[in-house]
Symmetry: C2
Subunit: 348 residues, 2 copies
Amino acid sequence: MVRTGSASVAAGPTLAVVAREAGVSVPTASKVVNGREDVAPETRRRVTEALDRLGYVRRPRFDGARPPRLVDLVVHSLEDSASGAVLHGAEEAAHDAGLEIVVSAALTRSRSERPERDWLDRLVLRGSAGILFHRAEPSGPQYTWLEQHRVPFALIDPVRQPPPGVVSVGGANWQGGVTATEHLLALGHERIAVIAGRRSTMSCGARVAGYRSALASAGVRHRPEYLRHADPNGAGARRRMRELLDLPEPPTAVFVCSDRMVSGVYEALAERGSRVPDDMSVVGFDDLPEARWLTPALTTVRQPLSEMAATALHLLLRMTDGPRPESIRTELSTRLVERSSTAAPPGA
Amino acid sequence: MVRTGSASVAAGPTLAVVAREAGVSVPTASKVVNGREDVAPETRRRVTEALDRLGYVRRPRFDGARPPRLVDLVVHSLEDSASGAVLHGAEEAAHDAGLEIVVSAALTRSRSERPERDWLDRLVLRGSAGILFHRAEPSGPQYTWLEQHRVPFALIDPVRQPPPGVVSVGGANWQGGVTATEHLLALGHERIAVIAGRRSTMSCGARVAGYRSALASAGVRHRPEYLRHADPNGAGARRRMRELLDLPEPPTAVFVCSDRMVSGVYEALAERGSRVPDDMSVVGFDDLPEARWLTPALTTVRQPLSEMAATALHLLLRMTDGPRPESIRTELSTRLVERSSTAAPPGA
DNA sequence: CTGAAAGCGCTTACAG
DNA sequence: CTGAAAGCGCTTACAG
């Protein structure tokens, strides 16, 4: 075990250690490492052998070569089933660009637990090439700090409206809302309800706006009692679905603002013996993994999370080399994935 | 504006130049660049401004003082639904230890695409504190390389039997197989089949061995035709389930070696009008997210993936500071999670 | 909060 | 060919 000090084990031996091992001076070892000609064959052999034996790794030079660069991905929760797709997209794009991804849920955690500064300090210390935030936004002071330290960052599917000038990538939420609603209209539905997430979330607002537009275009009256806001999880949605079912004139179809909430909708329907899609059509949004596992499999509006993450990474890289990209908000198109949760309304 | 100092262009200004420009010493400029606290706001502003104006580019560090340490997590696929839990556990444990996680699928990819050495070199270059492999194992030469460079590593739920001396963390697969089978036996089943994954996978072998033991203990004869190996995915399992259904005396219950395969089993059963759990009981293994989304929700043997990842990380950390841990193979206990896919056999 | 001093791992120029 | 010496860009420890 040859070790210089308390330095990281994996950092490997220094040239000095190798030189000592080979019985030569540091400059001579340096020449061998750099492939210089002016070294005696026997000396070269001894040094090479020591290099190999100790597993010497060149440290980056001051001028040209850089160590692999790291990009930070901050997610609001690693338990969110959307995180997988985001990570997948970011990791692939990073790999192609010769970068690596550091994943953390640190931002969210630090809000309550520890000074956020810690994390940001470390990030700059190791020279992060930039930060991607997925459904997690920096706080006001963090925005300032990031600007000051010129750390490029971009938001993926931000929950709230980002401050002016902040780069973000999202899905075409409004268009997706239109698509979902038009699909139901085309099947013959007119009593179409929406279960939306929290009023404050940006994506949800746009999805609901799309729903309203589609309704208006089709000349179908929007009924206020058909729009329900819920906590963005199964339990929240279950409650709202029950309320919709209790209406004097219940809907024949629901557009649920995120697949995340659909399990609760299915539960509420099962409680009342309402079958999907025979008695009630359900359309989701996002195309999270659960959309395929639910029974019946969920017809949903696919948001290309992996592509969004990859796009955000590319934007980040461009910011590193130059000015902010022209387009501050990028929207990738959404599309309907038809599965088995929608049909014509009963009696149609 | 930050430039990235691409190798070809003339090296950017040095910190010394920036410091002069800002009218401060080099150490002070260094502090600003590194986000240190102990700089007067006005000084910080002047330095930041000079940094911007001159387009300073951070040079890589080369001395003994270390930036925050990084641990690598290599997964076989970011699209595997188990990856989320593994990442979650690793990230939390890392965070608590003041480390950060670099995620990659690089190993798997590199097998075909590019020289593995690239990736490993980079890893050492940036001073990885060690590597966690989830269901992805280093190749022979990689093992050698890792040993030589003294990069600590540990395997999480390895697919194959690791070489002697390699540290790994898994679930109690044999015990889990016993648990699953005993559960079915207790419900009154005697005709219990197993759909296993590939013969070569270690965890699967242990699970099947547990199944046999439980059968033997209960004095139930093992029927060879009830053991089927399948490709570890839905399609593979669907085919085997059909075969089991075609048997002269089909089973009344199936133990499926991984939740990953259960969707195919459900499909095969639905095709034949066989209801779960009334006509056929199904037990899975792993407790992946889909176990909750399937209908009926899957009774399965939970493998504590997050805890396994956290344990592997702790072992890794111990290896960094000293010799290899005593215990080369660590097994965390598994437990049955009862949901709705099991019941007494028909006619019981 | 600031910066002189010492130090890091490495390379270059050059005397032997 | 070899290696002592000087130097590079940077960071840390610490005295003020």
